[in-house]
Amino acid sequence: MYVILSERLGTVGDKFDPKDKRHAGANIDALLAGGFIGQGSTTKPSKSAKTETDTDTDTDTKD
């Protein structure tokens, strides 16, 4: 998956679809080299680690 990085190609941040009529026949390598598109991330962002916050200071026997 590619993402548009330049307004000259379309809306920045939109997905670049080589099958779209507007982009048909495009030389992908040249667009990457020129910085007009970039590789989009295909992985989901990882969840943050669960941490316990100790707010009970009066009755806490562990501390």
């Binding site: 190609l9 040249a30 020129g34 007009f36």
Partner: protein, 139 residues
């Protein structure tokens, strides 16, 4: 007699990248080989259409900034790509019409990227896109 002034303001997409604001001239040449078909008994020359050999000459201001002329053209040298020239910018990107056709060369080749540096003049880049399949997009 001309009754109005028409300003030429074409739209240039080179490898899907809109380079109209850097382009100053576009010369689209649709050519076919002229094959002789004259035979004995003919008193006039006759011809038939042969192989197409189309080209597009484009002149650009030579900006080296990001996403400008150099970034767009440098990586295309020695490769094939698609270029579209229309009389004016389509109202909807990628949608052309009979009165604003997209003159298209698919698989055209860029052999060289000459850069012109001159004293007291803006840098320019003049390219020739050679060959490719010509089509007229009206939809």
């Amino acid at each position: 007699m001309a009754t109005s002034t028409l300003l030429s303001n074409p739209h240039v997409l080179i490898n899907a990248v809109n380079m109209s604001d850097q382009c100053t001239a576009a010369n689209f040449s649709i050519n076919y080989a002229q094959l002789t078909a004259t035979s004995f008994g003919d008193v006039d020359s006759k011809y038939v259409k042969g192989t197409g050999d189309h080209s597009l000459t484009l002149s650009f201001y030579g900006s080296f900034a990001a996403s400008e002329t150099w970034a767009s053209l440098n990586a295309l040298v020695g490769t094939t790509f698609t270029v579209i020239v229309s009389p004016e910018a389509p109202a909807t990107p990628g949608t052309y019409s009979a009165t604003n056709p997209g003159m298209t060369l698919t698989g055209t080749f860029l052999a060289a990227l000459p850069v012109n540096f001159s004293l007291s003049e803006l840098t320019t880049m003049d390219i020739v896109c050679s060959g490719g399949v010509y089509s007229l997009d009206v939809s």
